[in-house]
């Protein structure tokens, strides 16, 4: 009898908890605060969560409805990510998969479940093709944008000058790490530079001596790193050890984490990372974050994280989601929106410089807008350079040449749709 009472109580609690979860705008985030990639995940997730907490505290949420921002821990494991997706999709207005591997796995499911994927700056680059990937969004820039902009910076804006150069592509042997390869191979063939792809296995992330011996033997003009988590800090330490010229060493936006460079300090001077976000310590947003979140203790963020590249990038990511919610609310005329409405919001984002100033985020991300045939926004990005103590802006806003990227994205999107037939494809504007 006692057992039945306990079961009944547990059931009642579950119902209450379920009801509570359904209140507000349920926005799950597939976090990775644990495991080998946690060093990157923690500041990013903190930034994302803090922005939503700030909105809930300051404005009562978005459009007067609180955002229920819940994390589901994946440890960056694709299997756990899919479990998280299944567990959270019931009431979710969005899914934030947080890994290219998880994104690729849930991509077909979101078509059926009609939940938009928001994958800021990650995922599958052809997701920009909204006609094929109707439920997937990766603003403000794709990995192909990033790879193109890094090459463009190496080339000083003239891609023809890459002819005869040797460029090493040090990458995690994982869907994320391989993502820019189709574009890089195409550009190498077009512009006559030699591309040396150097994979780093997940088990070898912290033991990269073989990869750096290869770099020593190949003597590339530049190294481009597509690394994540513990791979980045180990690569930077190996680069220092092998005395590779740091000013010739570039990383993707996930390889520009302040603590990874702080570990080598002055020896890391000149290392560059492409970035579509820029910390703005004196912004009005940061004042509000401090007032409503940090000072009230409603955060897991430590003071030393606040002005880091990754924490503030996390803030930018949640801003994109919050703005998409606002757009959807305005469009439907209702504060309570569902995933289909949010999809409309994500497809009609218009983040202008004026909007950023209004949000207290001037300069934190380049202006961009999305559309049906442009789920990425292609905002462009800056090069950040490590000065021995912190990252500084080292370039004007760079742009990827969409006349090169778009045809490849269309071709790969069509290839994906064929391989996964029957895959629903629509014509934007048609």
């Amino acid at each position: 009898m006692k057992l039945w009472k306990q079961l009944a109580a547990a059931t009642a609690l579950t119902v209450i908890a379920g009801g509570a979860m359904a209140e507000g705008l349920y926005a799950p985030n597939m976090a990775y605060r644990t495991g080998p990639f946690a060093a990157l995940g923690i500041p990013l997730m903190n930034g994302q969560a803090d922005y939503m907490t700030m909105l809930n505290e300051r404005d009562g949420g978005v459009g007067g409805v609180k955002v229920d921002f819940e994390e589901c821990e994946t440890g960056y494991s694709t299997e756990k990510g899919v479990e998280c997706y299944e567990k959270t999709k019931g009431n979710a207005i969005v899914t934030q998969p947080w890994s290219t591997g998880i994104t690729l796995q849930v991509l077909p499911k979101t078509n059926v479940d009609e939940i938009p994927i928001l994958a800021p700056g990650y995922g599958f680059s052809p997701m920009s093709e909204g006609g094929t990937f109707q439920w997937a969004y990766n603003p403000p820039a794709s990995y192909w944008d990033g790879a193109y902009m890094i090459l463009s910076h190496i080339a000083g804006g003239d891609m023809a000058s890459l002819k005869g150069k040797k460029i090493a592509f040090l990458h995690l042997d994982h869907p994320f790490g391989k993502e820019p390869l189709p574009l890089l191979e195409q550009l190498a063939a077009e512009h006559g530079f030699e591309l040396v792809a150097i994979p780093v296995g997940l088990k070898e992330m912290q033991n990269q001596s073989a990869q750096w011996l290869q770099i020593r033997r190949e003597r590339p003009d530049n190294v481009i790193m597509w690394g994540w988590g513990a791979m980045n800090s180990a690569a930077i330490q190996e680069a220092v050890k092998t005395k590779y010229p740091m000013e010739q060493f570039y990383g993707v936006w996930w390889a520009g984490h302040d603590p990874d460079l702080a570990a080598v300090g002055d020896k890391g001077k000149g290392y560059k990372s492409i970035s579509w976000s820029m910390p703005q310590p004196d912004s009005a947003l940061m004042a509000d974050i401090k007032k409503y979140v940090i000072d009230t203790g409603k955060t897991q963020t430590t003071e030393d994280q606040l002005n880091s590249v990754f924490y503030q990038r996390g803030l930018v990511m949640s801003m994109m989601l919050a703005e998409a919610i606002k757009v959807a609310q305005e469009h439907t005329g209702s504060a309570e929106i569902g995933p289909k409405d949010l999809r409309w919001g994500l497809e009609n984002l218009n983040i202008t410089d004026e909007k950023l100033a209004e949000l207290g985020m001037a300069g934190m991300v380049p202006a961009f807008s999305t559309a049906c045939n442009n789920h990425t926004g292609h905002s462009g990005a800056w090069i950040l350079e490590w000065d021995g103590a912190k990252f500084n802006q080292a370039s004007d806003l760079l742009q990827a040449d969409q006349s090169v990227i778009e045809p490849l994205a269309k071709a790969k999107a069509a290839e994906y749709a064929d391989a996964n037939a029957p895959w629903p494809v629509t014509t934007c504007g048609g």
Binding site: K203, Q206, A263
Partner: protein
């Protein structure tokens, strides 16, 4: 013909052409090998005394290194942090014996193995709760470990040895010698070996199973701390270090689960061979990243001919 040339001739020609580079490859292989051997030693010690395959050895490396860095971040001087970390590893050894192993005495080996998986999961969760998931810097300089480098110019080329790697190799060598002396020359060491040879016989002459288990888990903890310091000094301390520990599995397959000599020689062999294969065959012919599988293939190959490993004891069972 070209294919045969690329496998049989070119790699050796490359070695001959750039002997300084070959020396660098061998050095890097040696350092990796020593560190693999250290991790494998932890496995072997526990297996010898209890027939338990300790799946938790990898996470013990992470936990020990994080504890050390954690104490230092609290303001404790570096060497006192080492002593306190050893204290924590001792408490861990006692707790494991009392809470996990003692109630499972007499259970099949697979149950004890599963229990060590449980210990692994606990240490991951507990470690993340206490220390967080961020990468931490090893307190290399604070421990007095030199961080400079030795540069040589053999054959007119360039060879760089990091002083911290040289220190790691030296400390590992001292640790191994000390361990061998302890096992062979001391009463406790002989008791550990006796327990490994025959539990019942060892118990019948008054050797305490509980004491020995605490002792071997503590020694495995000491090895874990040394390994954590050495790996951490190279690439930082994070939970990714645990993954490296799985490289000790092929070392054990190669060297044999019971043999300390096997762990050392197996570790060195795998460290050197996987590096040579990766640089001279893997990268030019297979696109690289062969280190993720080479050691396992090598170990499987050895098992085909010597199922007990190169130095393991041959098991003869009469039906």
């Amino acid at each position: 013909m070209d294919f045969l040339n690329s496998i049989l001739v070119k790699p050796f020609a490359d070695m001959f052409e750039a002997p300084d580079f070959l020396m660098q490859v061998l050095w890097e292989g040696l350092v990796s090998g020593i560190l693999y051997a250290l991790i494998a030693l932890g496995f072997v010690l526990i297996f010898r005394s209890s027939r338990i395959f300790n799946f938790a050895q990898g996470i013990m490396v992470v936990f020990a290194a994080l504890t050390l860095v954690g104490f230092h971040q609290m303001g404790v001087p570096a060497w006192i942090s080492v002593v306190l970390s050893l204290g924590v590893m001792f408490v861990l050894a006692v707790s494991i014996e009392r809470i996990v192993l003692r109630p499972l005495v007499g259970q099949p080996d697979i149950i004890l193995f599963m229990a060590t998986i449980g210990i692994t999961l606990f240490l991951i969760g507990f470690g993340e709760l206490i220390f967080g998931g961020e990468n931490k810097m090893m307190i290399t300089e604070e421990l007095g470990i030199p961080t400079g480098e030795f540069i040589f110019e053999p054959f007119g080329g360039f060879l760089l040895l990091e002083q911290k790697d040289v220190t790691a190799v030296a400390v590992a060598a001292i640790l191994v010698v000390a361990l061998l002396m302890f096992l062979n020359k001391t009463r406790m060491g002989r008791a550990i070996r006796a327990l490994g040879d025959d539990h019942q016989a060892a118990l019948s002459v008054g050797i305490s199973l509980q004491t020995i288990w605490v002792l071997v888990w503590f020694i495995a903890g000491i090895i874990a701390l040394v390994t954590g310091i050495a790996w951490g000094a190279r690439a930082g301390v994070s939970f990714a270090l645990e993954v490296i520990a799985y490289k000790a599995l092929p070392v054990l397959m190669l060297g044999g689960l019971e043999s300390i000599t096997g762990a050392i020689i197996g570790g060195l062999m795998i460290g050197l061979l996987e590096k040579l294969f990766e640089i001279y065959w893997g990268q030019p012919l297979l696109g690289g990243n062969t280190e993720t599988w080479f050691a396992f293939v090598l170990a499987l190959f050895v098992l085909l001919f010597r199922p007990q490993g190169l130095f393991g004891e041959r098991i003869i069972e009469r039906v």
